[in-house]
């Protein structure tokens, strides 16, 4: 999917200038300290420095370098879920979130960058302390405006870039260009200026002026960049004159003792004043976005009140050119991002114009519409989920806005409810539950959305294994739905409450609730509810050994799914029918059905579905006396569960135990372990291909974004990483201490193996495949950390082998 795992380091879009001493300091600090915190005011370059240092250190960390951007996170209680999301993890277990994250990281040699910690300093400190104690090979780089105050923390104040000094004799100021380019701020200015004005160079004429600009801006990188890009329309002398005027206005004002803050503020004000009125308005309105956003979102949120929709693209282009807006690194559609400091400034301007409420309202409506598409079950699922994933921070920001505005509570609850499937399948259960709890606390009892919010909250609690919490919410939801005459909410509450009853051992009450739900869904014409209930009843019949009835339920479900295009539940129906068919004595037909389910599951990003299918195929294969294949499938299924992490439903564990026993009996101990290990070591794509009897993908074919393994040598992987960083062959040769010709040969071999023809394609492949790091959603295969759901060990309650 488009952006891959959020926390993967990506190539830099602009040249990194200077900071040699600071990079050396960070490298040295990481050698002895496990937490290095880069501090300094906004705009000083902490994030760029941290990312550069992290990228350079990648070779020292076999399990990769990962970035958690925390600037858009306002709720400190969601720090761990956000860090987990950055690592491509989803935790459905309901345990203390720090414990789950610690277990994942414990066996890994990994560098984690926590970026922009200042507004979550206490939570970041507590988390860092816990992780560093539990994970001996973890290293952390944090960026913050303040020290975190963790034992063993090494802090490094990031200074401004070096600027030419003001020498007393005027003649001494006119140093030659070479002399001036020794100063980092001058080099940064030159690099950014050359990007907007090709051919620009620091020379005898421009040098003193550029030096003056850098001194005026105190060497603050962001300020220097904002000034440099103005060469598109101003001369260096004009830039300096206008800066001098702006600073003259500030003299005597501003917070005492914070000169760098005043300088940056002045630079931002100056840059703002040079914009057109529409560009200024655009800057302010865009500040309500969290993280990155695309052009469609910009048009929706920022257009109106003097900005025509068709002009938004030009305004975005203009602001990118003026370094107010950055193009976010990634694949697929263009996305944009405001630097935190620039966004804060824009927000102040927006508030000064009394425009924040309007912009946030439009922001909320745009993301609510995205969530309301509700394509969780159809062929558009993968794209919809990818969109939600890419806009996760914006969805969260919209919900936080709704929580803070009494008039937006109901809309927030609708948005939260529309996200239920996204939260469930992507493991954002804790976040979903917390947001819904906050909304329910404030929603009036008579709010129309309340019954729905209650059953969705109950559903999430159920998936997370909190049965008492789920029961309370679902029973309250059922009651509220009855009072409100909301048949739809009553049906869903009944359906999920029936699961709770089954798990609590009240099977008969569970059955009554499920049958009631099916009737209500049929009556209301809710086909999604119908297939959900049929799946649920089919599972119940399956577990109760009512096999013929189970087959009937799943068969009807499959027919409705095919008619309505519900591929999500079609996989459940096919798999359930397959298991029923197997138990009725036809393993060949059963395997065909389960493989069909697996084939579809592969397309819809459903990790639990994949694990269920692999498990089912393992049982069937074992019953057909194909012990080695069964053992391999058991290993693959085991790893698939562990990667989520989740566990096979206890009611199905018996089938697994029988399969394991059969395979062990047929094979020697060594043969069983070997086959099992082979399955456990497979990537998800390989496991699916194995289960579907597809040929393994050979070398030379382009690697897909879903994690197919292309066998590059270790050296070739290093070269691919450096190519992704934008290095030339000669630079790579210097970095790796090899000849340029050897570097060139490596690049050619990489292209042959990947089946690509450009360095950009190598970069795209490298960005999607961090070195020895887990595929999105499938961490930890063979990396030492035991997430393993070994036979019999339950990690979290999964509501159904046929998941709701």
């Amino acid at each position: 999917m488009g952006l891959g795992v959020p926390g993967m380091l990506r190539g830099e879009l602009t040249e990194f200038v200077g900071r040699r001493a600071e990079l050396a300091q960070v490298r040295q600090a990481l050698g002895s300290a496990r937490l290095v915190t880069l501090t300094g005011p906004g705009g000083i370059g902490k994030t760029r420095l941290a990312l550069r240092a992290a990228a350079r250190a990648q070779r020292a960390f076999p399990d990769g370098v990962w970035l958690a951007r925390l600037g858009g996170l306002r709720d400190s209680a969601l720090l761990v879920p956000e860090v987990a999301r950055s690592l491509g993890l989803s935790d459905q277990s309901g345990r203390w979130v720090v414990a789950a994250l610690s277990e994942y990281l414990a066996g890994r040699h990994l560098l984690l960058v926590l970026d922009q910690c200042e507004h979550l300093a206490d939570a970041c400190a507590v988390l860092a302390d816990a992780l560093l104690r539990a994970c001996p090979r973890l290293r952390v780089i944090a960026t913050s405006r303040h020290v975190l105050g963790v034992a063993g923390e090494v802090t490094m104040a990031v200074p401004p870039m070096s600027v030419p000094p003001m020498s007393v004799p005027p003649a001494a100021r006119s140093a030659g260009p070479e002399e001036l380019l020794r100063f980092e701020a001058v080099r940064l200015f030159a690099a950014r200026a050359a990007a907007v004005m090709p051919g620009f160079a620091v020379d005898a004429a421009s040098g003193p002026v550029v030096a003056g600009i850098c001194r005026r801006l105190d060497g603050i990188p962001l300020a220097v960049e904002l000034a440099a890009v103005r060469l598109r329309s101003l001369s260096a002398g004009q830039i300096l004159d206008r800066l001098d005027s702006r600073f003259a206005l500030l003299s005597g004002g501003g917070p005492a003792g914070q000169p760098q803050h005043r300088t940056l503020e002045a630079a931002l004000e100056w840059s703002y004043e040079l914009l057109t009125e529409a560009e200024q308005a655009m800057w302010g309105r865009m500040s309500v976005f969290a993280g990155s956003f695309d052009l469609d979102a910009a048009e929706m949120v920022c257009a109106g009140d003097g900005i025509a929709t068709e002009t938004v693209v030009d305004l975005v282009d203009a602001l990118v050119a003026k370094s107010v807006l950055s193009r976010a690194a990634g694949d697929g559609r263009a996305r944009y991002r405001l630097l935190d400091t620039i966004g804060e400034f824009g927000l102040r301007k927006l508030r000064a114009r009394n425009g924040e409420g309007r912009s946030r309202g439009r922001h909320r409506r745009w993301y609510a519409a995205l969530a309301a598409r509700q394509e969780a079950f159809g062929p558009g699922r993968a794209g919809w989920i990818a969109s939600l994933d890419a806009d996760h921070e914006n969805l969260r920001a919209a919900l936080e806005f709704c929580l803070s505005e009494p008039g937006e509570l109901a809309a927030g609850a609708e948005l939260a409810c529309d996200l239920w499937r996204y939260w469930e399948t992507h493991g954002h259960l804790t976040e979903g539950r917390r947001i819904l709890a906050g909304l329910l606390e404030k929603l009036d009892d008579s709010a129309e959305v309340r019954p729905r919010a209650l059953w969705v909250a109950g559903f999430l609690a159920l998936v997370q294994g909190d049965l008492p919490g789920a029961r309370a919410l679902l029973e309250t939801g059922l009651s509220a739905a009855g009072h409100a005459g909301d048949a739809g909410a009553a049906a869903y509450a009944s359906s999920y409450l029936s699961y709770v009853m089954y798990y609590l051992g009240e099977a008969e009450r569970g059955r009554v609730l499920a049958e009631t739900a099916l009737t209500m869904h049929r009556d209301s014409g809710d086909q999604i509810g119908v297939v959900m209930s049929l799946t649920q009843l089919g599972s119940t019949d399956l577990h109760g050994q009512e096999l013929t009835r189970a087959a009937g339920r799943f068969g009807e479900c499959a027919r409705v799914c095919e008619r309505t295009g519900n591929i999500w539940y079609q996989t459940y129906a096919q798999r359930g029918l397959g298991v029923a068919t197997w138990l009725l004595g036809d393993p060949e037909a059963a395997a065909t059905l389960v493989r069909a389910a697996l084939h579809t599951t592969r397309e819809i990003d459903h990790p639990i579905g994949v694990a269920l299918c692999l498990d089912a195929l393992a049982w069937i294969t074992a019953s057909q006396k194909r012990a080695a294949g069964a053992a391999t499938l058991l290993g693959a299924a085991d790893a698939a569960w562990a990667a989520i992490p989740a566990a096979l439903q206890p009611a199905l564990q018996g089938h697994r135990d029988v399969a394991i026993a059969a395979a062990r009996e047929a094979l020697t101990g060594r043969a069983f372990r070997s086959a099992f290990a082979a399955g456990a070591a497979m990537s998800q794509a390989e496991a699916i291909a194995f289960a579907l009897h597809e040929p393994p993908r050979g070398a030379g074919r382009p690697a897909g974004p879903d994690g197919d393994r292309v066998r590059l040598t270790r050296r070739e992987q290093e070269v691919a990483r450096l190519v992704a960083q934008g290095q030339s062959n000669s630079q790579i040769a210097g970095e790796l201490v090899i000849s340029a010709r050897t570097a060139e040969t490596h690049v050619r071999h990489i292209m042959d193996k990947l089946g690509v023809s450009t360095r950009a394609q190598i970069a795209a492949w490298s960005a999607a495949r961090p070195p020895m790091s887990p595929r999105p959603g499938m961490p930890g295969r063979g990396s030492g950390a035991d997430h393993g759901t070994r036979p019999g060990r339950s990690r979290g309650v999964q509501p159904a082998g046929e998941n709701p």
């Binding site: 709720d75 400190s76 209680a77 969601l78 720090l79 761990v80 879920p81 277990s93 309901g94 345990r95 203390w96 979130v97 720090v98 414990a99 610690s102 206490d122 939570a123 400190a125 507590v126 988390l127 302390d129 816990a130 104690r133 539990a134 804790t430 976040e431 539950r433 917390r434 709890a437 606390e441 404030k442 009892d445 909190d466 990690r795 979290g796």
Partner: protein, 122 residues
């Protein structure tokens, strides 16, 4: 719990003075505003080391909140080993500060319940 119910509960609890003997040591609030809060934590699936980490995180969160002027004390931990849960008792100026401390310690779903404590006579 709807805000108006919670407010009513707080009003009731303020009217009931706490037994000073039940809370040795300096209180975080004056006599008429000492309030106790209980937070239950699910310990299922946690190893002994993780349990220790959990309690250290709570203690550190309280210390940080206190340094920033928050009025809270972590009084007691009651473990229920057979049920894999623990009850953490706080004295605080209000439930929000208890919630904030649990947020910092990464318990986003913690329920903060107002409780009353007294020592039986005799």
């Amino acid at each position: 719990m709807p805000p108006r119910q919670r407010a009513a509960m707080l009003g009731d609890s303020r009217a009931k003075a706490l037994d000073r003997a039940a809370l040795p040591g300096r209180s975080v609030a004056d006599e008429t505003h000492r309030l106790l809060y209980l937070v239950e934590h699910d310990l299922r699936g946690l190893s002994p080391a993780q349990l220790a980490s959990l309690h250290r995180a709570l203690g550190e969160a309280v210390r940080r909140e206190t340094r920033r002027g928050g009025r809270i004390r972590y009084l007691q931990r009651i473990d229920v080993p057979a049920e894999l849960r623990c009850l953490c008792l706080f004295e605080a100026a209000g439930p929000e500060v208890v919630r904030r401390v649990n947020d910092i310690a990464q318990f986003p779903l913690a329920r903060v319940v107002t409780v009353h404590s007294s020592v039986p006579a005799g």
